[in-house]
């Protein structure tokens, strides 16, 4: 980040100042690293729990060193039924490693669980709504960035204010509206809804990115005989590519994480992963490794994207107002 250069330049002052400031730096680093490590404990613990056997996950004192097991992941992806020991002995030797894990608990796999469906729903709804939100946002942002629009500030405020709305407050009529239109519990309904939630962020962020693209490029293109639309398509869009990518990732993360609407408006068909993960506990009777496994698989993509986006985060969380 950019401040390193500015604070590093006072090195020419008296020796004692440099000495104390380097010790200060060392101390500051120590405190920050300690805080970061504490922050990591819950995440590391969840990852570790996903690799524990159910008895290990509820032992006291908590086991830091344990024998890794894939039982959590197997339980996450399967539904099982309990059988008598004789029944299992009569089945003959287990054919796969996951059959073997399950049989040790006197169970047999009867089929896949619904986790993959829920995860797949999250992917479809996440990408679908992201595509739409970024598409609409790009057009609107260009409109606001380059043209004189009457009541521009009011419109922009209106767009942002829709994001402030408490989801539960509009959930009642949306529930009624979707029931009438046959959109409740459908992927299409959720895609439209998440697009509406994300488009505000998309417009504000992309307007910031577009404002940074010099107008001279388009003016030159227009002089060369491009129409305004051609200039937008062939000059502005390629310039805005990285901004559009960052915006898309933000929209994807928010759609991926959304819970309130998913809880209230979806059930058997279009349910996404966030309302499903807590239910895993009930299905397996305090099966924490399976919950942890689901959580791990759900959170890993976000951790990856967060690291990827680290330099744009500030922009994303302030709707493009704060750049660096």
């Amino acid at each position: 980040m950019s401040a390193a250069a500015t604070t590093g330049t006072i090195g020419t002052t008296a020796h004692s100042v440099v000495e104390s400031s380097s010790r200060g730096k060392w101390l500051a680093g120590l405190v920050v690293v300690a805080y970061a490590l504490i922050t990591l404990i819950p995440l590391v613990w969840i990852l570790a729990t996903s690799l524990k056997s159910p008895p290990d996950s509820i032992s006291y004192p908590p086991k830091v060193i344990f024998e890794p097991s894939m039982e959590g992941y197997v339980n996450l992806f399967t539904t099982r039924s309990r059988q008598t020991e004789e029944y299992i002995e009569n089945l003959g030797p287990a054919e796969t490693w996951y059959d073997e894990i399950v049989r040790k608990r006197n169970m047999v796999i009867v089929g896949p669980s619904r986790f993959l469906d829920r995860y797949f729903n999250s992917v479809v709804i996440g990408f679908g709504s992201t595509f739409l939100a970024v598409f609409l946002g790009t057009l609107a942002a260009y409109g606001f960035s380059r043209f004189k629009v009457p009541l521009k500030d009011d419109l922009l405020f209106f767009i942002l204010s829709t994001r402030m709305m408490p989801p539960i407050a509009v959930a009642i009529p949306i529930y009624l509206m979707y029931r009438t239109l046959g959109l409740s519990d459908t992927a299409l309904g959720m895609i439209l809804l998440y697009t509406a939630v994300n488009v505000s962020l998309s417009v504000w962020l992309l307007k910031g990115f577009m404002d940074e693209i010099p107008r001279e490029y388009e003016e030159a293109a227009v002089v060369d005989g491009y129409t305004r639309l051609q200039a937008f398509w062939k000059v502005v869009l390629p310039q805005a590519r990285s901004g559009i990518a960052a915006t898309a990732i933000f929209c994807l993360i928010f759609a991926w994480n959304e819970y309130a609407f998913a809880l209230l408006l979806t059930s058997g068909n279009a349910q996404t992963a966030p309302p499903f993960i807590p239910i895993i506990i009930g299905e397996g009777g305090l099966d924490w490794p399976a919950v942890a496994a689901g959580t791990t698989l759900f959170l890993l993509p976000i951790v990856f994207f967060t690291v990827l986006l680290r330099n744009q985060l500030l922009r994303g969380i302030t709707f493009g107002a704060v750049r660096k």
Partner: protein, 316 residues
């Protein structure tokens, strides 16, 4: 923000080019393009945000129940609002919300600002560790709430275990105890969102020009004076922005609390949104809960207005 008057780009170019080209340049008029580009977004928001909102306002004056669609809707005037504001319980829910909002903001500002000041010292590896600290902020609040119920298990959880390493108090029942439950959600929110405050403070710190400190150095200002007269006023707009945004978000907090305590024990952590969900989707008192939704929305909208003003101020 650069908002140069820009409507006349093609006009200006057209005036400067020979007549033959003008035809080609014009294509669509600027106004047409602007509305073509902006209106889909506005229409979508009108359909999925404003229309439902108006419907909520209408329902708040009726005795409608969404689980009995056949029943005729009766206009009841302001009765829902009177019942709402007259009920003692509502103040309890708002109090739970206020307790949550105020404490999370106070704690997160103190920790977030301190962390930002430390990170701004630019020790080796600062940017790596900053990224690590940022991770919880982007995670799904509902899923975070779920896995913290595991960490908070009184008999076997790691939270209770770590507390007992320092003070032997026996099993710590964060979620089940009336005294501790409000703090259980504050701790999780702090874990998740302190990075937000930190990141904005850091942006504020980095916007301060170095010469201000050099001038203060010449005037023999001590460290405390530098902080009080230079650093704090300069990062104040950023801090305000962070507190407003997080304050609004926490005022309508739902996901994390539902999964963590679902309002319990009793209704100790039943914050406004959770109560609203119960009234609307469990008791199906649609009219009554719509009135509550309107009140919440007006509050959030008012705060949001202040937030946007702060946003525009920081932008400049």
């Amino acid at each position: 923000m650069t908002d140069r008057p820009s409507d006349s780009l093609t006009d200006r170019v057209a005036r400067a080019t020979p007549g033959v080209v003008v035809q080609k340049v014009r294509g669509l008029s600027d106004t047409a393009i602007a509305w073509l580009f902006i209106s889909p977004t506005i229409l979508l928001l009108l359909a999925i945000n404003i229309f439902p909102l108006i419907w909520t306002v209408y329902l708040s004056f009726t005795n409608y129940r969404a689980n009995r669609p056949g029943r005729p809707i009766e206009w009841v005037g302001t009765r829902n609002y009177e019942r709402l504001l007259g009920s003692e319980d509502i103040w309890g829910y708002l109090q739970a919300t206020a307790h949550f909002v105020v404490w999370t903001m106070v704690i997160q500002v103190v920790i977030g600002l301190s962390l930002a000041l430390l990170i701004n010292r630019n020790f080796k590896g600062a940017s790596f560790w900053t990224t690590v600290i940022l991770i919880p902020m982007m995670l799904s609040p509902a899923v975070v709430g779920t896995f913290w119920t595991y960490l908070y298990q009184p008999q076997t959880g790691i939270f209770s275990y770590i507390i007992n390493l320092f003070v032997a108090v026996g099993p710590v029942d964060m979620i089940g105890s009336v005294d501790l439950a409000p703090w259980s959600i504050i701790i999780v929110d702090t874990w998740m969102w302190t990075p937000y405050i930190m990141l904005l403070c850091l942006a504020g710190l980095r916007s301060i020009p170095e010469y201000l400190y050099e001038a203060a150095e010449i005037d023999r200002a001590n460290a405390w004076q530098k902080f009080w007269y230079i650093t704090l006023p300069r990062i104040m707009p950023f801090l305000m922005l962070a507190v407003l945004f997080r304050g609004i978000e926490n005022f309508k907090m739902f996901d994390m609390v539902v999964e963590l305590t679902s309002g319990g024990p009793g209704s100790i952590t039943e914050v406004a949104s959770i109560n609203l969900k119960r009234e609307a989707f469990e008791k199906w008192r649609t009219g009554y809960s719509s009135a509550f939704a309107v009140i919440l929305f007006v509050t959030v909208f008012g705060l949001g207005n202040i937030y946007v003003k702060a946003l525009n101020k920081v932008k400049q």
